[in-house]
């Protein structure tokens, strides 16, 4: 076991991939000389050189599209979109090429591309830099979307994603980079299609992912103190969505709450709620509840941003309101 940060785990995963497979390369804005805007790729340029750690111009659409083309050409690109906010400029490439080529070509051309991007708010960087768009990506047939919320997943998901023949987008919550965790010394690839129960409980099910897993776990601590034992499900895979795990849990606990940093309307939480009531309706003692971000462009002022984001307090209150 070694103690390691989420950031280091992501870096080790890339270093490992770059060493293991010469078809792998990293490309994105400031991933090289700058070391990555969150220092995730720090040192990789020095170790692997500018051919395999490529600083790109500010051209999100072109370098994401080039990643798709390189994947078609036999490479295994890791394309870093500095933050999900800028992925809006590359969505056409992701939706209309990465996600569609295999199907449109009748199975001829798969796209073994991995996109990494940081997401989420909480750092007072305001409206244009605090988006949580995981729900949008979970809507797109033809890609996989995963979100590591632990150092083990940060270390292991990339490996599996690179072995996947299809496009995989890996979200990284900017507030998790400094999170520390224990990693087995033989840490290797991990599953990227199943959810995980991070805490067991009988009174209600809390579904969370990425940046909200910590909130859900902290809330479950408080709830335990109040005598309510919550089961916490970490989605891990946002697309395809592993509904078996959370539906089974909700059927057993009879109550469910979804915590999602995205805006409430049209959030991934809405999909989770819809599926739980579709598949476990008769086992539910109360409607599925959602704790999401306020539907506002994220404000800069700390007190406003705090009020806009899902918090332990809001989750605990929502859990109690469920009668759990």
């Amino acid at each position: 076991m070694t103690r390691i940060s989420y950031r280091e785990a992501l870096r080790e995963a890339m270093r490992d991939a770059l060493r293991r497979d010469e078809r792998v390369f990293l490309m994105g804005e400031d991933v090289g000389r700058y070391g990555g805007c969150f220092a995730v790729s720090l040192g990789l340029l020095e170790e692997f050189g500018p051919g395999r750690v490529r600083d790109t111009p500010l051209s999100e659409s072109a370098f994401v599209g080039a990643g798709i083309g390189a994947a078609l050409g036999g490479m295994r690109p890791i394309v870093e979109i500095m933050t999900v906010n800028f992925s809006l400029l590359a969505l056409d490439q992701i939706v209309n090429n990465a996600a569609s080529l295999l199907y449109m070509s009748g199975g001829q051309f798969n796209v073994p591309l991995v996109i990494r991007t940081s997401t989420g708010g909480g750092r007072q960087v305001a409206a244009q830099h605090s988006h949580s768009l995981e729900g949008w990506f979970a809507h797109i047939p033809g890609i996989r979307a995963v979100f590591p919320a632990t150092v083990e997943d940060a270390r292991g998901m990339l490996w599996t994603a690179l072995e996947d023949p299809d496009p995989v987008i890996i979200f990284e919550h900017a507030s998790l980079y400094n999170m520390q965790g224990e990693l087995p010394d033989d840490a290797g690839p991990v599953d990227i299609s199943r959810s995980a129960v991070r805490r067991e409980g009988d009174d209600l099910t809390i579904v969370a992912f990425g940046g909200t897993l910590g909130v859900a776990l902290d809330a479950s601590e408080q709830l335990a103190a109040d005598g309510v034992t919550a089961e916490v499900v970490d989605l891990r895979s946002l697309r395809p969505l592993d509904d078996a795990t959370f539906v089974a849990s909700a059927s057993r606990t009879h109550r469910a709450l979804v915590v999602d940093e995205g805006w409430r309307t049209g959030s991934l939480a809405a999909e989770v709620a819809a599926r739980i009531q579709e598949q476990a309706f008769y086992d539910l003692d109360a409607p599925v509840a959602r704790v999401c971000s306020a539907e506002v462009p994220m404000p800069y002022a700390k007190h406003l941003e705090d009020a806009a984001l899902p918090s332990v307090g809001r989750v605990v209150a929502a859990a109690h309101a469920l009668g759990g």
């Binding site: 659409s61 072109a62 599209g65 295999l102 009748g106 001829q108 996989r144």
Partner: protein, 343 residues
């Protein structure tokens, strides 16, 4: 020195030996195959056997044929929704192209793509892209892969004059030039983007200046003269292959038909269309070869005969084709379960 010249570098010189004119006849043959194929598509469309969008390249065959002649089997092609000619000239079988247009399982894309999405792994034909400019970054990436793997390949990327206004074109030109990637940019300038004339789409209509602003050598080529297109394409492709970085060909051409089957073509003046029809690449080459005495007696008829036989055969093949079972609707959304996933 104007920016264009500045970008041009030496004028193209490459040419292919064609003493007996057999090669030129081959070019004519290719253009006629494509023309007859698309003419039949029009009939099948009226017949509702082809549906959706149908964009014809009638009048632009010299661009398809001339450029493809300059490529080798390992090279790659990225195209647009107006790609029948590119696909056929590249070597896709007319049968699988026609079957695709008729939505058959036997089509190159199993009937999932249709006219705008012809794909062919065997000839490294990466489609058929219906988003204007959307294919250009793919070509840059394919070239990047070749560059990183040390393969002496060229990726030819086709797009229209309208695509030059899209940001993706500029981002891609810059990236290809910055990294000196082996991309042959082939802009089929047919003067219109749907109903929008180039002059209403670009403040600077000399497209070679765009290339110049990225230090990409650019050549203006008569896109109605297949031999001129092949000459420039060969020369440019060689430079690209030899590590000369991306090159840009502006192929001056014209579509004789409307933008698509939906287009009433209200925006072009008939005289203009007629003027361009005088430059029909098939008619002019036929005339030239006849004049040069390179077309044997009855040869044109034999070519026409072969073309219509091939088209008839392709249609028969398509008509006899099957429909993909509806149960397979969700196949190929993903290749399969994720690695290590039991499901």
């Amino acid at each position: 020195m104007s920016p264009a010249r500045h970008a041009l570098g030496a004028a193209p010189v490459g040419a292919q030996p064609d003493g007996d004119g057999r090669h030129a006849v081959h070019l004519l043959d290719q253009m006629i195959r494509i023309r007859r194929f698309e003419e039949r598509c029009v009939e099948l469309y009226s017949d509702t056997r082809i549906r959706g969008f149908l964009h014809l390249g009638i009048g632009e065959e010299a661009c398809s044929v001339g450029v493809m002649e300059a490529l080798g089997p390992d090279d790659a092609v990225v195209s647009t929704y107006r790609e029948h000619g590119h696909a056929l000239a590249r070597g896709m079988s007319m049968r699988s192209a026609m079957a695709e247009l008729e939505g058959r399982l036997e089509g190159c894309s199993r009937g999932r793509g249709g006219s705008m999405h012809l794909f062919d792994a065997a000839t490294r034909f990466y489609g058929g892209n219906a988003i204007v400019g959307g294919g250009i970054p793919l070509a840059v990436g394919l070239a990047l892969a070749d560059r990183m793997m040390g393969r002496p390949r060229v990726t030819a990327c086709f797009f229209g004059d309208g695509a030059v206004a899209e940001g993706e074109f500029h981002e891609s030109m810059n990236l290809a030039a910055l990294w000196q990637l082996p991309v042959l940019f082939c802009c089929e300038n047919n003067l219109y983007a749907m109903g929008t004339a180039l002059g209403r789409s670009e403040s600077e209509t000399d497209l070679s200046l765009k290339a110049a602003s990225y230090r990409v050598p650019a050549w203006e080529v008569d896109g109605m003269d297949v031999r001129a297109v092949e000459r420039s394409a060969r020369d440019a492709a060689e430079r690209v292959r030899e590590g000369g970085g991306p090159h840009f060909l502006e192929l001056r051409t014209y579509r004789f038909r409307a933008h698509s089957m939906y287009d009433p073509d209200r925006y072009r003046d008939k005289a203009e269309i007629e003027r361009w029809k005088q430059l029909d690449p098939i008619a002019t080459l036929t005339e030239a070869l006849t004049g040069e005495g390179l077309l044997e007696a009855g040869e044109l008829e034999r070519i026409e005969q072969a073309a219509s036989t091939e088209v008839d055969d392709a249609v028969a093949f398509a008509d006899a084709g099957t429909l993909e079972p509806v149960e397979d609707l969700e196949n190929f959304v993903l290749s399969g379960p994720a690695p290590g996933d039991g499901r």
